[in-house]
């Protein structure tokens, strides 16, 4: 209990420190920032580039446009919209990553042949890939259900999310000691039972760090995917829209950015909760 309290206090202290640094720089920094050989190395500190923390927080409570919903509601709505793409992309990506890892572990040849492409897949620039995926998606339909723009976004999220799971789980599935494999062999356990009784449980220490990375990747993928496919309704779109108003309403874009950050934190927290539950279940299962 005291440990959890310490974690919460630590997080609050970090937030406070961030706010203090922000305001501190505003107080001492030059309004025009600092340039070195024509390259700006320090940001401008005036109110239009770095609004006061309090102004940003106040902006959450004010309407988006005159007479509209308050910003916090708009941002929350957008986050929930994006969360759907994130969740679907994360789930599908993690599943694909897991299956790839299993196939690669099972067949050496597949590992040799596939792993370079798995790694190569992450070096393709997302900006180039997103329109292609959106274009393909437009020609698809799931049965009678037409392809929705958010599905393209989820696909992009999945494309980023599968990678850490595939690589992490491949290591995890390879992790049992030779003696443990021999033991299963001596029990005449085939590939499937060795997988279920030995390899999968042995790889949980690798699974959760991989899932954390996949969660973060899915959020980045969804936000960037929304921006580059021009999908409406999500937080990625909101960031772009609000940044266009940055000159007149500088605090606004920061509300959307904070929203995107909170979305990432929420996904990380969900993965953490899943890990906690699994570990506890394990302790209870005798």
């Amino acid at each position: 209990m005291t440990r959890r309290l310490r974690v919460v206090l630590g997080a609050l202290a970090a937030l406070l420190l961030g706010a203090l640094l922000w305001e501190g720089y505003k107080a001492v920094g030059s309004d025009n920032g600092a340039s070195l050989f024509g390259v700006r190395v320090l940001p401008r500190a005036d109110d239009s580039a770095m609004p006061h923390v309090l102004d940003i927080l106040k902006r959450f409570g004010q309407p988006e446009l005159a007479g509209g919903d308050p910003i916090w509601l708009v941002v929350l709505d957008a986050c929930l919209f994006t969360l759907r793409s994130v969740a679907v992309g994360f789930g599908v990506g993690a599943l694909i990553g897991l299956l790839l890892a299993i196939v690669m572990q099972r067949f050496r040849v597949v590992e040799r042949g596939l792993l370079p492409y798995v790694i190569l897949s992450q070096t393709v620039p997302l900006i180039a890939l997103a329109p292609v995926i959106a274009g393909w998606g437009g020609k698809l339909s799931l049965g009678s259900y037409p392809w929705q723009p958010w599905m393209s976004v989820a696909t992009i999220a999945a494309y980023l999310a599968f990678f850490p799971v595939a690589v992490g789980m491949l290591r995890g599935l390879h992790s049992p000691a030779a003696i443990a494999e021999e033991l299963m062999h001596s029990y005449a356990a085939g590939w499937w039972r060795t997988l279920v009784k030995l390899r999968l449980p042995a790889s949980t220490p690798y699974l959760f760090p991989a899932l954390r990375l996949a969660g973060a990747a899915a959020v980045v993928g969804a936000v960037v995917g929304e921006i580059s496919t021009g999908t409406r309704g999500g937080i990625g779109r909101l960031v772009i829209e609000y940044s266009r108003e940055a000159t007149g309403d500088p605090a606004k874009v920061y509300t959307a950015m904070i929203g995107a950050a909170l979305l990432g934190l929420a996904v990380a927290a969900l993965v953490g909760a899943a890990e906690f539950l699994l570990n506890r279940r394990r302790r209870v299962l005798v």
Partner: protein, 274 residues
């Protein structure tokens, strides 16, 4: 019935490469049903290799090998044997109890029966109070005992044990030796038992197989006939005579026809090979 029969068995690791090792050559050995056979010899003479051949974890490069009258592979698939390795090899995410249950689980034993047998075996190795612990919470000797319980839990007809008592204190060791003999006698189990301790080999075995390295081979087989074992056996003249015989065989000097009593009694219980 013969439990295990090897004839002309050889094993070469990494054949044809620079790091080629002749681990075993020309091994002839039969273990009769219900017999207890120990393998003893200096480190690296191929004891573990021999055991792993019988377990069909590796395949011989020459010779023939049958287990329970079948090819070794068939015997493994029929789960004819239980095995305890040189290292405990427990699954760290399973509790002690569930580790012992593992082989029963894979044989499709029912949940309740599984638990009962695992608890019985853990009681036997003196770990009844640790069923809910995880392997990381146990000492090395305790982990080794869990591995022994795991090997015994399936009541196999053939038991393969690779230095199972190596990490145990002398008292636990002697108690487990007696328990092992009792179980084997009760269930008619045949056992191949690797050890570095001459007294242990003599106390447990019907036959002690003496091996020698480079290349790994059997140099001597010593029959031990001490009758039913008891506490008195450990002090008996026959026991010490056996120890002397095995030790001579390990040194490579043939035993004289009549061993002098003084030489016999000098063989203390701490003597170990290698």
């Amino acid at each position: 019935m013969t439990a295990v029969a090897l004839s002309g068995v050889g094993k070469v690791f990494n054949a044809g490469r620079a790091d080629q090792v002749v681990a075993l050559t020309g091994v002839d050995l039969t273990v009769d049903s219900g017999q207890f056979v120990s393998l003893i010899g200096p480190s690296g003479c191929g004891k573990s290799t021999l055991l792993r051949l019988v377990a069909d974890l590796i395949q011989p490069t020459s010779g023939t090998l049958t287990v329970a009258g079948k090819p070794a592979r068939k015997a493994r698939l029929d789960q004819e044997y239980g095995i305890a390795f040189q290292q405990a090899g427990l699954f760290e995410w399973r509790t002690v109890l569930r580790n012992v249950e593992l082989p029963l689980e894979l044989r499709g034993t029912g949940r309740r029966e599984r638990k009962r047998r695992a608890e019985e075996m853990l009681e036997l190795v003196g770990l009844a109070d640790f069923t809910g612990h995880y392997p990381a919470q146990l000492s090395g000797g305790m982990q080794q005992r869990v591995a022994i319980a795991r090997a015994l839990a399936v009541h196999p007809l053939l038991l393969l044990m690779d230095e199972p008592f190596g990490a145990l204190d002398e008292m636990t060791r002697e108690r487990l030796q007696d328990e092992l003999l009792r179980i084997c006698a009760q269930t008619g189990t045949s056992t191949i038992f690797v050890t570095h301790s001459i007294p242990e080999a003599v106390y447990l075995s019907d036959r002690v197989v003496v091996m020698s390295p480079r290349p790994g081979r059997i140099t001597d087989v010593i029959e031990i006939d001490l009758g039913p074992r008891s506490e008195a056996t450990r002090q008996s003249a026959g026991f010490f005579a056996g120890i002397t015989k095995v030790r001579r065989a390990l040194r490579g000097t043939p035993a004289p026809t009549s061993s002098s009593p003084s030489a016999s009694s000098s063989a203390s219980a701490e003597v170990t090979a290698s």
